[in-house]
Amino acid sequence: MSLQRLFAVSSVVFLAVLAFTPAKNALRPYRSIQREFRRVGAARAPSAKAAQQYAARPIAIQQIWLPDLDNRVDRCTTCHLGAADAAMAGAPEPFRMHPPTFHTPRDFARFGCTSCHAGEGLATDRADAHGTSPDSTSPILPASFMEAGCGRCHAGDSVADAPSLSRGRTLMETSNCHACHAVRGHEDFRADAPPLDTIALKTGGEWLRRWLANPKAVDANATMPNFQLGRDDLAALSHYLFSREAAPELQRAVAAAAAEPAGDKVRGKTLFAASRCISCHTVDGKGNGSAPELGKIASRATRGWLIAFIRDPHAFNPRTRMPQYSFADADVRDVVAYFEDELRDFDAPANILEPLRVNQTLAEKGATLFRSAGCFACHTEVKEGERFGPDLYGIGDRKATSLDFGRRADLQRTLPAWLAAKITAPRSFADGLKMPTFAFDDEQKRDIVTALLAIPAAPVPAAYRSAPPVQASIVPAGPIGELVSRYRCLSCHQIGGRGGDISTAPLTIEGSKVNRDWLVKYLGVPYSIRPILPERMPILKIPKDDAARLADAIEMLYVDPNVPTDPFAARPASDRDAAEGERLYTTFGCRACHIIGKSGGYYGPPLSDTHTRLKTGWVFRFLQNPQRWRADVRCPNYGMTDTDALRITAYLDTLVERKEAAQ
């Protein structure tokens, strides 16, 4: 080829290549996706004008910039163009409108996308944005763990509209994960495992061996995990535990109780039912499940111990959630007689409760094992910084490349897969690992992984953090505090967001809600306020003056200042029209859910004794906005005027019929 020809060709190719180089940019996937969106949007548009707008959309990168949230830039909407577009509901992905939730689609500009979904916000191509390449910093949260995103800002244990996350966080607390693994916000966590110094008084060597081998097989409610102990270790631990000495007064109490005569098992059975122990315990699987299964209790603990324990549980375990029942001495004997008659393991060997004779060498070995296997982490108080397992700070942001998959080559190389496998089979990764095995089902595992994925490496900026409002959750010190502790109100009830969830009635504003005198009677003999519910408060046999003191304290302390003492003050007299209130009661259809007299619906509590039970100020406030204190109240908010509310209050206040207590 002559030089001229070569020059001509090279010049043409040169210009052609230079003209062609922008193709690499023009062919970027987001551009064709945006052109596709033009077509889809125009096709789905409700009007020609809207179609025109879709067709004329410029092809450009879209982004949400959040300078206050770690200077985030989320470019997800470059492809997910219909996320905030109502016309795109049900459109094919990636154009579909975001499913409506509490924060979407209204809060896109406030939170962006990656603060909930993770993923690489800066990216404008799919693989990088979704974080599917191996060294991506932030893979997108899989759909089953979506709620982990909520937990990044919502720090409380229970997050509304995030049930999986809430369950996971609760499960971590009840399974005592925080006893071994430090998590921010739970630095002071102490497991509620019982102290082990009364084992020798309580049970036998055979029972203890069975328990240590597999707690869940012995008691389905057990929160203690399976430590997969070998035979020798089991023996050593048993000898160690039996070598521990209980306090002398406990030894005396148990011995004395063991010497007492047998009780009346028929009376005991009735008492057992009345005491509603299954509010927390289970019998043959029926009951609440937050306390041990009692179906075989007589083969689990000795008679003397049972009697002494029920008489004073707090002496044996100051941190137990079981309240102090004010039983008579004979009552307890009767109940335990009932246990020994019916609630025993009929297949157990005769020596199941026979105490172990301690071998000192084995006991010493067991003492070492008690520390090295991690038993101490739950059964003793552990200070911050001394926790047995690795801490979980920032576990939700760990990169998959920094995780040790050990032997588990079968796992997907992602953080959720690693976490799920760790929870399922902790020791399968390598030899020498010490984490015990928990018997979680698939849903529970998913919940826990969600809760773990919600733990960020660095907390979100303060403006974005949403901690639950903790109201006055104070339990006063002094005699009132002792009473609350004695009867363990917080084991079942919540005050200000803290407490148990066995009762559905929080006591936060109970003082503004119920009349004092009624409360005193109720505490003496609790009855079923809402007949549709099978549960009611156990009969703790609270003595009258204790009940009076408690009721006074509740009326004084647990109030809502917005509830007026007298809602009719400074209102015209016509507002106190009970007849008109009765008419309104019918108009609003309250009968559908509430009983007055003999008729009405069973859904809500009966209102026959409103005057006795409830305070007028509270009733008025309730009628104004039933969801004022709890968002999940089912009574509809009719938006009624204050006048109507007052009239209905006046009517209800005329109802004094008191339902007899059902035994």
Partner: protein, 267 residues
């Protein structure tokens, strides 16, 4: 006359472009020696030096890639902050947002590789053609220094993306530098602006890569090309030189015979 011809006759045009339009040797000479950039060339060159096998154009390839690197480098500088961790984010922004950002960065990177390879091949070519012989010894030394500057440019640029590849590649390299006796530790501290590869190292490497080393490169390349000219043009395969020496020429090359030789008066 055509519009082009008319334009070429205006006084504005002729104040800028001073040579005529006719293809005379005079005009061709003027094009060369009245141009700042071109007048490093002689007005006439040996025909055999135009052949591809004369030098394989390796010096030219190196220079071409240098020009591409400077152009793409300046454009990249518009998008880059030499701070941690903004540097990495800027690389991502180039990839995700900047129009033709990927192309720009790719071009810069492959041109850098080409420059290193071409410089090395150029060195080999000069060696195997024995073109380092007198009077070109010093130019060879300048060339070796240029090769080192090229490698340093590549190395300082390597750190700038601030990714794992960059960070650890430079860590390994500076750890090697530490092994030099006496000055090793100090040299490493000077390079890094500290004891570890950190923001200071990034800033230093950035300044080295964008200012110090390009200036050094520019100066040395100027000297290098100037010396080529002064030493009589590029020298190709040694056969010609040998043939010429066999025929009695005292030096491998002669001044272009078209330039008049200075006449000395009789003693």
């Amino acid at each position: 006359m055509t519009a082009f011809e008319w334009a070429r006759n205006t006084s504005v045009y002729r104040s800028i472009i001073r040579h005529g339009v006719l293809p005379t040797n005079r005009n061709r000479s003027l094009i060369i020696f009245e141009n700042l950039f071109l007048h490093v060339h002689p007005v006439k060159v040996r025909e055999r030096s135009l052949r591809f096998t004369h030098t394989y154009w390796l010096g030219g390839i190196t220079l071409a890639s240098t020009l591409i690197l400077v152009a793409t480098g300046v454009l990249l500088m518009f998008y880059y902050h030499p701070s941690v961790p903004q540097a990495y984010r800027d690389m991502k922004e180039l990839q995700y947002v900047v129009d033709d950002g990927v192309f720009l960065r790719n071009l810069h990177r492959w041109a850098a590789h080409l420059m290193v390879i071409a410089a090395f091949l150029h060195l080999l070519r000069v060696f195997y053609h024995r073109a380092y012989r007198p009077p070109r010894q010093f130019n060879w030394v300048v060339g070796v220094v240029l090769l080192i500057v090229t490698l340093l440019l590549s190395y300082t640029g390597y750190l700038l993306p601030w990714d794992q590849l960059a960070f650890w590649g430079v860590s390994v390299g500076t750890n090697m530098a530490r092994e030099a006796p006496l000055i090793g530790e100090r040299m490493r501290f000077f390079l890094l602006g500290g004891n570890v590869v950190s923001e200071n190292a990034l800033l230093r490497f950035y300044v080295l890569h964008c200012v110090v080393l390009p200036v050094a490169l520019l100066l040395l390349v100027s000297v290098h090309i100037w010396r080529v000219r002064k030493d009589g043009g590029v020298q190709g395969p040694p056969e010609e030189g040998a043939r010429r020496r066999a025929q009695g020429a005292d030096r491998d090359v002669a001044e272009t015979p078209s330039a008049p030789r200075p006449l000395r008066p009789a003693p």
